[in-house]
């Protein structure tokens, strides 16, 4: 039942040797209104795959990124007014703040996938590819083994 370390070493290996078993969808949390925020409730399907704190950290960081992107303050007013004055043509030249944060999010998700999730046989899909409705977490299982446990301490330490 113990998986070999090298099977889930990185995303490449995950692609070759694992098969998709299930997908878990983290829904939006609307308690603060229509701002983009995801529920930090730990889904039971991931119980044996990843530590709760790691998962919560990821979701909380993503929520912070989205909050930063959607913050209504001095910078967003400036951006809005400047854009309006230039008849929104300025967006052909510069990136909006939201777009900049989305790039940061995409890099963060890639980093998390490489360092934390792929070694555990999981993969996070960027919410923007799902209409910002859900965080889709794909659960992979090793084709060779019949068991589903992969959270052995050896793999998690090699993944760091």
């Amino acid at each position: 039942m113990v998986l070999q370390n090298k099977e889930f070493h990185n995303l490449q290996e995950l692609r070759h040797s694992a098969s998709l078993a299930n997908k878990v969808f983290i829904q939006r949390d609307y308690t603060d209104g229509t701002v983009c925020k995801f529920q930090t409730k730990f889904p039971s399907e991931l119980d044996s795959r990843i530590e709760r704190t790691l998962f919560e950290d990821t979701v909380k960081t993503l929520n912070n990124y989205y909050a930063e992107a959607e913050k209504i303050g001095g910078q967003s007013y400036l951006e809005g007014c400047l854009a309006c004055l230039t008849v929104y043509l300025i967006f052909l030249c510069i990136e909006t703040r939201y777009e900049k944060v989305l790039k940061k999010i995409s890099r963060y998700i890639q980093e998390q996938n490489e360092k934390v999730y792929a070694p555990r046989g999981l993969l996070i899909t960027d919410p923007i590819e799902r209409g910002m409705r859900v965080i889709e977490i794909s659960v992979y299982e090793d084709r060779g083994s019949s068991g589903s446990s992969s959270g052995s301490s050896t793999t998690s330490s090699s993944g760091r």
Partner: protein, 385 residues
Amino acid sequence: MSAVMITRKVTRKWEKLPGKNTFCCDGRVMMARQKGVFYLTLFLIVGTCSLFFAFECPYLAVHLSPAIPVFAVLLFVFVVAMLLRTSFSDPGVLPRALPEEANFIEMEIEAANGNVMAGQRPPPRIKNVQINNQIVKLKYCYTCKIFRPPRASHCSICDNCVDRFDHHCPWVGNCVGKRNYRYFYLFTLSLSLLTIYIFAFNIVHVVLRSVDSGFMNTLKETPGTVLEVLVCFFTLWSVVGLTGFHTYLISLNQTTNEDIKGSWSGKNRVQNPYSHKNFIKNCCEVLCGPTYPSVLDRRGVMLEDSTRPTPSDASAASTYKSTNPVSQTTKSSAPLIPNEHTPEEAKPSIGAGTQKSTSSPKEEKPPSPTSPNAVAPAVIKESAH
């Protein structure tokens, strides 16, 4: 490994999007299907302004001030820009749920409903969420197979769920939603100003000229004036009224859709949980809030060929970065979850796409179906239409 380049045309995602939108400029422009009234709007604005520039402006520039036509030009450019921006942009369409997500939601609903007796109608699919201490009901959309986020609504004309749906405006030929509401408002506001401006200066022009030449002669010299006054008179009432109505809605942070349905009015109803209860704050949020990105990856390339079209992907993504800021970066991070495919379909393309000589035929065998995947083929048929 040699990359086998397929020379046929690259298929972009907008070509496969469900819904009744029309796309132009290879996915850059997105509009509703019926565009007739939009052309009328454009014709009226351009036509009336052309008449103004042809007949009134030469006289007014000389006799009053050259600033008059200059300001008219600026206003005209602003109006047309806002109109085009409203009409051509994605209003905030929510993409339909992919089969796995739809199944996941179905299973949640069934678990929540428990056992329904045969012959009995299942309860309506509603989710209650608490927003700012108010209970808001989220409805399930049978077309898009999602629980609509708060303030989203399904537009039957465009057959899409739109976030913060305001209304479908035939005059701009598009829905008005989260992403283009402020452009729509600025369009109506600037159009009101332009109409008032042209109307006022028409009157001034007629008066000034009549003093010199007499009223009938003036009308004969500048026949366009009559037409302009007519158009402006009728436009004035409707557009100024509309601007006033939307100013009222913005100050309360409501949408037209909510206003019509009476979501936040009436004694027993919930108070608007989105309003900041402050006129300035509400206006700032709606007009000066962040510019939301489009979640419809219109210009992304469909991964349906057996070879991954990475060269065209990079070049396509770089040609118009403002519509797809993250398509190139997210594709590299999660390439093995293609958007429109189920796991079964995805496996052969992933297995072959890596082009490793070590990939054995047995790797392309689909995974043994667990319960979500078994239901997926049936769901695909529904969502594919």
